[in-house]
Symmetry: C2
Subunit: 324 residues, 2 copies
């Protein structure tokens, strides 16, 4: 786990922007820049532009980098080939090989949520916990885990999809094709869809929320937060249910994986910070005594640059060669 | 992972009997005996009697054993201390230290389901799969996993309680204190309780089952299997629901852990073997495409001696010292 004081590049390729950082010892950020992502231009062009931006912005620093870590919003196979990336459309692309060619240094490729999980463990709210579960509740719900000091990867490199744990068997349809997934209730889209359905089913109860949003179809997390602040009963109930399902999922995860710490991050947590207390209360009330006794449930410690930081750190820790 | 051709003892301390085996290379069973467990006599006396039985039964073989693995039906902490063992009542007992004293050789202590998981991986239906999830559906539902070739242990040595994943949020009460656990639906007690409740709620539908069992309170898994064979609609529905909940849990586990293989064993699987097909169909229909593509779902390969065999093998692999 020593990083020898070397430096690395971290590149987080998102659907709209690509964040590029230069990271030194202990994840210290030495430089940062970003370029727009143009998915339709392809992975090769995107990585070439990222490498150019790094050279322009970081100069000698970029030339000194020992390796580059690429973080991608998609399912990354064990050898750095994208198995699926709905926001980028680069399925089947060998991103690792393209990154080696573009940057001229060894590269690792990792899913963005797993990269952020690693960053939280090494540099953020997960430090010191060798058994860690991370959930990011954004539009969807992503996850990752460090178990026994190792990033959970799975047989195909895609483990950690805790957003697609079935928590409500026979429940709401998830975008993934399953029913009753955590994400279908606690992801941003799931919360908004539940609000819309509730407002349409009971127009009187939904009146305030619909007025605030303009239409039932237009209800956002922000509208739910605002309505709740002004005392709206439906908004309060929606958030309460979100906490109940999140708590139910966390009880199961704590029982199944026995982590020392659980980290909760993402936009839904930012919008409804009291979900942390609700979920924590559920775990302390209902998880197995030996598993709940010492578990801590905390908010994420890093900002939006966590995936790029984690990818850079993984690039140093995994010591990739030029040919994988 | 080499075992050097050494031999080890494996001792599985159950609530009613203690199984003692002598295991050689590749888990080959060189000898086997069993004694009744008398929990109230305490752990020290039980382990002493097991050591005596091993010496009597295996003679020179027992003297040659390099280590002993103790498998216990309970929550085993990281250093071999029992954190909870409802069927034995030995909470807080340092089983590892007592085993070293009784057998005079280094000892490891492991939960019985984790020991069986390890045995399935090394010697049974899990061979060759470096990412493996195991579920044993007996009276309760126990579990274990091998991830990246390592036995999942967790921060307190108690990971793998997949029977206490929440699958039906807000659902049936589980004996563990949570609601909606997999075990509350698919463990033997959960199945029987659901049958009783259904028979009491709808006496006409439950008539055949109650007649077969003698009383609603006395409905067993065997009675459900018999009623179903003779065409009873309620029994068929109960098994169908069991498969639905098991499938929902497996979809989530496959998404979360991305195993290459899932092993299902235990008395409920023996009684209702077609649950395997139902659960497999759910995973193939609803798990994330990249996670379900190469996953295999199979029956357990070993018999009741799996915990003792797994404990013996772990004792060789982990190379314990006399003082932990």
């Amino acid at each position: 786990m020593r990083d020898d004081g070397r430096i690395a590049l971290g590149v987080d390729v998102g659907g709209t922007k690509t964040e590029i950082i230069l990271a030194g010892r202990h994840g210290r950020k030495l430089g940062e820049t970003r370029i727009p992502t143009e998915p339709e231009a392809g992975a090769e062009a995107t990585l070439r532009r990222a490498a150019e931006a790094a050279r322009t912005e970081f100069g000698a620093g970029a030339a000194d980098a020992a390796a580059v870590g690429i973080s991608v919003a998609g399912q990354v196979g064990a050898r750095g080939v994208l198995l699926g990336a709905p926001n980028l459309g680069w399925t089947g692309v060998d991103v690792r090989r393209l990154a080696v060619a573009a940057f001229g240094i060894p590269a690792v490729v990792v899913n963005d949520v797993r990269a952020a999980t690693w960053a939280e463990w090494r540099l953020g709210a997960g430090r010191g916990a060798r058994h860690l579960v991370v959930l990011f509740l954004g539009t969807g719900v992503g996850g990752g885990a460090v178990l026994g000091g190792r990033l959970l990867d799975g047989a195909d490199g895609i483990a950690g999809e805790f957003g697609h744990l079935t928590v409500v068997a026979g429940g709401r349809a998830c975008r993934c094709g399953n029913v009753g997934c955590l994400e279908a209730y606690c992801g941003g889209w799931g919360l908004e869809e539940r609000a819309r359905d509730a407002a349409l089913a009971d127009p009187a109860a939904g009146a305030a929320l619909v007025r605030l949003a303009g239409a039932a179809d237009a209800i956002t997390g922000e509208a739910i937060a605002a309505a709740r602040s002004s005392g709206d009963a439906l908004a309060a109930r929606l958030v309460e249910e979100t906490g109940d399902v999140l708590g139910a999922a966390l009880v199961g995860l704590v029982n199944a994986l026995n982590p020392r710490r659980v980290i909760l991050g993402g936009g839904v947590m930012d919008g409804f910070p009291d979900l942390l207390d609700r979920a924590t209360a559920a775990v302390h009330a209902r998880a197995l005594p030996a598993a709940r006794k010492r578990v801590e449930i905390v908010r994420a410690g890093l900002a939006d640059d966590a995936p790029a930081l984690g990818a850079a750190d993984l690039a140093l820790v995994r010591r990739p060669r030029m040919r994988g």
